[in-house]
Every structure is written in C-alpha cells, then in structure tokens.
Symmetry: D2
C-alpha cells in the first residue's frame, strides 16, 4: 500500500515539531513537507501532499487552508480562533472542491474526547455528577475550557433525560467550597506544580460511583489523534468539527 | 399516570429486601406483592402484577418465570445459573406469549455495565490496556468474573480494530507481578479489608492515559438498574440478556 | 493474660451498637456492660469495668465521665461538644484520680488521623497543596470539619517551614472554581450520592505529586481506633486529646 | 547571606543537565562548576566548591568522591552501584576528613521517599496492605525496585507490630492475578504507554482504606531532593545513606 503523503504546516512550533516526529514514525505515512514561517505553500503542490496538518496561528490559518482546499489537499487543523464567519468562508471553499475534507478539532487528545463522550453517555443514569480538573500552576483560567464544556454536555444530557437540576445540599459552608456552578454541575479546579492537564468526571447514585479520568502527561498526547485525523479525513469530504466524529463508538 | 404494578419474588433475601424498599420508594411504581419462600405465585395474578422482579435461586427461577410468562407478567431476573438449555425453555414460553418481555442481567449495577461498555469503546484507541479489580477479603476467586469479562471484551475490541496482542515488556521479575493474562490483557486483583467491589480499567497511549473506575460501596447499587429494567421491560417483548441493551448510549 | 473489662455507654446508638460488636469480637477484651439511656452507672463498678467507651451526647457525657474518673475507670470518649470549661472540669477530676486516663478524640478513624499526620509531615516539602473532600449528598456543611482542619495543619506546617502562602495563578475564571480558601490552602468539596466520607490531600512540586487519600466506606471505620484507644488508655494517666497521640509513628 | 557554591559532576547527562538548571535557578546557590567527561577535578578546588553533586557512573564515582572528600568538598551522590566494599572505602576517606559530609540516595524524589516513610508508619495499623506500581512500557523489571523495597518495609513494620503475615483469601483463580508475593505483601505491576513512574500503597481495615500515591510525571522530580541534600549535607559530617534521613518528620 502506498503511504499517505503528509505535510506539517507550523513545523517549528512545540506541537508542530512533535507532529513532524509523529508522522515520520508512522508506518503508513510519509512526511513530504515541513513548513515553517515564511516557507512557500507551493511546496505542498510540488510535493504532492495529500493531507496538510495545520498547526500555526489564527493569523495565518485561513490563507493556508484556502490554498490547501483550492488545490484538493485535505486538512487536519489544530489552530484555534474559529468564528461563524471563518467557518462560512471555509465551507464556501469546500463547496467549490467537493472531494476535499477538513477536520478542525478543539482537542486532539483521544483520551480527552472519549472522556467527554462517555460523560455524556453516563450522565442520564446517575443522580449526581461533578467535575474535578487538575492543572499545572501556570494555568490562568479556572475552570479549564474542557471542564466547562464537559459540564455543559453533562447538564444537557441530564436535561434531555428529564433529570432535575442538581440541588446543592450545603446549608452552611465557606464560599467556593462547592466549586463553580456550570449549568448545575459543580466544577472544581486544582492547581499543583508537577501536574500537566488532568480531568476527573464523577458520577454517583445509590451505592455506587463511576469515575472517568483523563491524564495528559505530555503534550505529545495530541499525536495519536492527529494521525487518526489524517487517516480518516481523506475519506471524509467537507468540514468535520470535532475529533469525536471520527471515533467509532458503535 | 397510573403506577407500574411490581412484585418482588425472593423478597426476604438480602438483595430482595433492598428491592422491596427500592420499589416502594419509586414514585412511578407500586409494590403490590412481596413473595417469600412458600408463598403462592397465584398472588401475582390476583394482584394484577405487571412486572415481577425475580431474585431467588437457580432451583426456583424456572418455575417462577414459567408462571409469569404464561400469565403475561414481564420479568426482571437477577438469579444466575443460566445455561443454553434453560434459555431455550424460557424462549419457548416467550414464543407462546409474544407480548411478554424478560430481562436477565448478570449485573444490575449500571456503573459496572457502563464501565464494560466504555472499556470496549475505548479499547481500539489505545496501545496499552490493563484491568485492576479490588475487593473485600472474603472474595474467594481472583480475578473477579466482571474483571475477566471486561478484559475479554477489551481483547476482542482490540482484535477487531487490528491492534496487536499486547507484548509484556518485562524481561526479569517476580512471578505474578504482571497479573493474570486474559487474552493478552493483564488483570490484577487486590484484596483489602474495608473494600466492597471496585474495578479500574486503564488505557495508555503516547502522552496520556484514560481510566474508567467503578466503585460499589453498598449492595444497594443494584437497585437503580433493577428499577430501570422494570420500566423498560414492559415495552420490550421477548428475551433481553444484559442490562446494557436497555441503556441509551446514542 | 486476663482480658480487658470494657463497658460501652450509649450502647443503643448507631456507633455504640457497632462498638458493642467490636468489643465482643476482640480477643483481648470482654464486654462486661452495655448501658443505654436510663441504665444506672453503678453497673460499671459492680461489673469491675476497667475502660468505659463513652458514646452518648454532650448532655450526658460530663456526668458519665465524672462517675468513671472518680471510680478509677478509664475513658475512651467519642462524644463531642468540648469547651475550655468542660475540659477544665474533666482535668480537675483527673487530678484527683491520678492513675486514671481519659482519651477524647474528635475522630476515631485511624485512616483519617494518619491522613492528617502525613499531610502535616509532607506539607513543608512541596510547593503546592490542596485538599479535595468527597461526601454523600446528605452533608449540610462544606467543606467538612476534617478537611478544614487538615488544610489548617498544612498551612501551619508550611509557615513553620518558611514556605510562602500559596498564590492563586488564576487571573480569570468562574467564582468558586478554585475552592474555599483555608489559610491559603484551597479546599474543594464534592457531594455525590453513593459516597460516604472521603478525603484526598494533594501535594505537588517539580515533576511529581504525592496524594494521600482516605476512604470511609462504612461507619464501622471508627472501631479499630476505639479498640486501640481502650488498649492504650489504661497505661496513659491524665487527659489525652486526639487519637494521634496513641499512634507510634517513630 | 553568601550563596552555597555548588558543582555538578556529570553535567551532560540527562539528570545532570537538569541538576545544572536546578542549581542555577536556586536563589541560595551558585553553580560554580559543571564537569563533563574528561574535565579535570582540579576545577572543584580552584573554584572553591563547597558541595559537589555527583551524577556520573559506577566506573567514575569512587575517584570523584575520593578527590572531593580528601579536599573537604561535601558530596550529594545519585550514582548507583554501592557495595559493602565501596562504602567501607568511602567511610575511610570520611574518617580522615571528619568535617566532610556525603549523602548517597538511591532515590532523590522526595515524594517517593515520603511514600515509603508513610507506608512504614501506617503498616502496623491496618489488617491488609498491597502495593500497585505503574510504569511506562519500556521498563524491563517487574515489580520496580521501589515497590519491592516498599513492600519489604511494610512487611517488616507489620512483623515488628505483631501483625500476622497476610493470608491470601483466594481459593480459585488465574495464576498471577494476586500479584507477586514480597514477604506476604502482594505487589502488582502495571505497564502502560504514556505513564512514567507511579506507585500506590493501599491499606485497608474495618470500614476504611488509606491510599498513598506517588506520581513521577517528569524526571526533574529528583531536583528538589538534590537541592535539599546539598543544603543539608554541609552540616552533616560523615556518610548519610538515604534522603529520608534529611527529612524532618517530627
């Protein structure tokens, strides 16, 4: 079988340089281009790139994707900053190139994505649900975006299943003890030196608890998801938003 | 809405007496019969029972179910000892009573069932997978049946996804350190006074791990699953084997 | 060796009835009296009780202890509500009965006490420290008294070791996400149906974390500490406050 | 206050280069020499080094320490391969230089050392004790040396306290399920891609469990212990074996 011809755009960044190594190490892929700041996008067509992994910056991602889609190169995109307007422009390019696929994912960690999927599935079956996220001490926001999103998904699944909003049993206590309230789901944020990024989703009902925990120990955790995205995007024309759409959970 | 008319057969056992309390506490159910050893099954028809929760013994379960199915009473069955022959007999009764449903479940803990379902779903996405189960010191078998079953499901999902059998990296060590080998998935059994029944499924790949943990802290953990079974079995004619079939994981 | 002659005062309460069973089951003890409401304290002297386990109520504990100490009966006390004034009165009785010992402990769970001791010992060696406590949904206060006390002990140990007060790195977030602030140590309180009483103390520094976790799965968890107290109090005249004083941590 | 003048010997190794950065980042230390293979030891005296951090190889450590001790330079030693004979030679040099101190530590992770200390302290108070260690898939030995050592310390503490050897309750099961038997303490070894080095010590008794968990997420976890060793060794003449001797656990 011929190998998938892959390029990394943003190859000198922290995640980009991991992606270069990951593509090189994959048996079924060949790294045919690694573009940094100032390198010409023409290289992608000259090298016959099939999939471009885009890991640059909101300032450059649109130009890069316009070039890729126009030339029939599939995209796997980790760059953030997506707005309605940007998505509409991307979709118009894809409409004009109907065999090309683009995957945009806010999180390429398969473990983080599965944690959210499982949390949603479990939510309707437990009386109580809370989220604890734990990160390094350099993190400026609390709770994390992933934890907030997880809590929102849990709240929506509870509502859909007809479960009532959780009532806090606390009648006296210290401010903050019961965490942040995200649509009725308490979210607690721990900050410890030595940690990277971790999340625990806790469910409880009569006599039992279910805990789903994701630990990111190194930022290379995004690589399996990026490789999976590259393998699947070539058979998935149009825009796919979220890695969960490429996971088989049948 | 009229309440579901429920009976418990085996109402004096440890789980049966929990079930009596759970049905009584459920807003949408009415406990109309609680049968113990020697009580007549006729009570079920006299009281207009819709669902019978069968928590007795392999010696009596067949007689009880024959009566229920023949009289159009749905069954939720926790009694064990099912063989091909027994299932065939039960199916023949159900064939003759095509609107009646019976749910048999080896495990009515929703948390335990979800742990197995999620483990199966996650298995194909991680290079490594192991199972740790932890139980009280009165447990005579190791590993637990649930842990063995979970490991088998993981091994099957890996094989289906084309993942290789896990190789043990250990070249020197003490016998037993790497656990029991269940189809290539190591299973470790901890026995501690103070515990009841707990299981952890661990997955790992580049830079991240995913852990699914189920803790049973009290044997009342089977009640939400029994109630769910009773609610769903009335709309599910025929035989259903395994509570997972009644969980919506869409 | 002759067995220790033990009485339980408050034998009909939830913890008291556990204590009756625990003393009966102990090889080195004999349960010689089990007093309930209205029973005469004279039984204690008539039966030659050496140690009385006092598990009643703040309304009755002073009268019970006055009788015990005056008659040279050692006490192991789980009843709460101790004030400076009450302790002074108890000490005056002990002064008059110099061979008699009384142990008062706010928590007889050895695991909970060790968690606090270890947290104090570890605190000076880690840049970061936080506490997560997890309880059943019937708990009205948050955080738990044990978690608050643990955080205070950590804060005191940090200060003694010259560590700075922890700065929260959060610059934007949701109110409550970072927990309650107890002397600079964040404390997070989770409330889940199915849980009983659990606490996790987390420490972090460069490249590593240390977690000390205590799980109470049943209220019988106080029994080993009560028995230990009874064995040790007979050789420890005067007042001892806190089970940690009877633990050998050399 | 004048800064401690520190050298790193073996400065180009993986741990050595971390140590260089850690000493440079410490407010109370000055890195005055960083020696690699072939560099002259004379630099240590020329630069007025007070403490040498020795992170080389069993082939070179003796020569390096002989030079240091003879010249009154204190040593903090992470190199392994210590035998009775080697320790005797080192002690003879120290006898001739009575103000000089050397710390040798098999493990400079404060979290790992505290885990062992706490495990020893707790062991006598719980009926059951087991160890689970979890490492990356490159690890060739199972269980880890640290886990084996921890289990031996637990077994010794149990014996000293008069606790019986743990009996395995298992009557039928799969080989290996109950782990490796280290002096009656079961030790289980998990190997997952994505992990680095982790250990959990589990204790159980009536109604409760206590868990002490250490997670090494990066090999920089040895740095706080190395810095602590350097600060303390200057006031501790003679040989100290084990970082635990420099921890204040009063």
């Amino acid at each position: 079988m011929s190998k998938l011809r892959v390029a990394v755009i943003g190859a000198q960044g922290r995640i980009g340089s991991e992606a270069v190594r990951a593509v090189e190490a994959a048996d079924d892929m060949e790294l045919v281009a690694a573009l940094g700041r100032g390198d010409s996008l023409e290289t992608l067509t000259e090298k016959g790139v099939q999939v471009a992994v885009e890991l640059t910056h909101p300032d450059s991602v649109m130009e890069n994707l316009q070039f890729c889609v126009t030339h029939g190169i599939h995209g796997v995109v980790g760059t953030t900053g997506w707005t309605e307007d940007r998505l509409a422009r991307l979709n118009s390019w894809l409409d004009a190139s109907p065999r090309t696929g683009v995957l945009i994912a806010p999180n390429f960690s398969i473990g983080a994505v599965l944690t959210m999927v499982f949390a949603q599935q479990a939510a309707r079956y437990f009386e109580s649900a809370e989220v604890v996220e734990l990160h390094h001490r350099g993190k400026a926001d609390a709770p994390s975006g992933t934890a907030t999103r997880t809590a929102q998904l849990i709240a929506a699944a509870r509502e859909e299943a007809g479960l009532p909003r959780q009532e806090d049993p606390t009648t006296h206590g210290l401010a903050g003890a019961r965490g942040a309230d995200v649509d009725g789901v308490p979210v607690h944020a721990v900050r410890l030196r030595g940690l990277l990024a971790h999340q625990e989703v806790l469910f409880g009902d009569t006599g039992e608890t279910l805990t789903i925990r994701h630990d990111s120990l190194h930022h290379s955790c995004f690589m399996p998801g990026i490789l999976l995205g590259a393998r699947r995007v070539v058979d998935t024309p149009g825009l796919t938003f979220g890695l969960e759409n490429f996971l088989d959970l049948g």
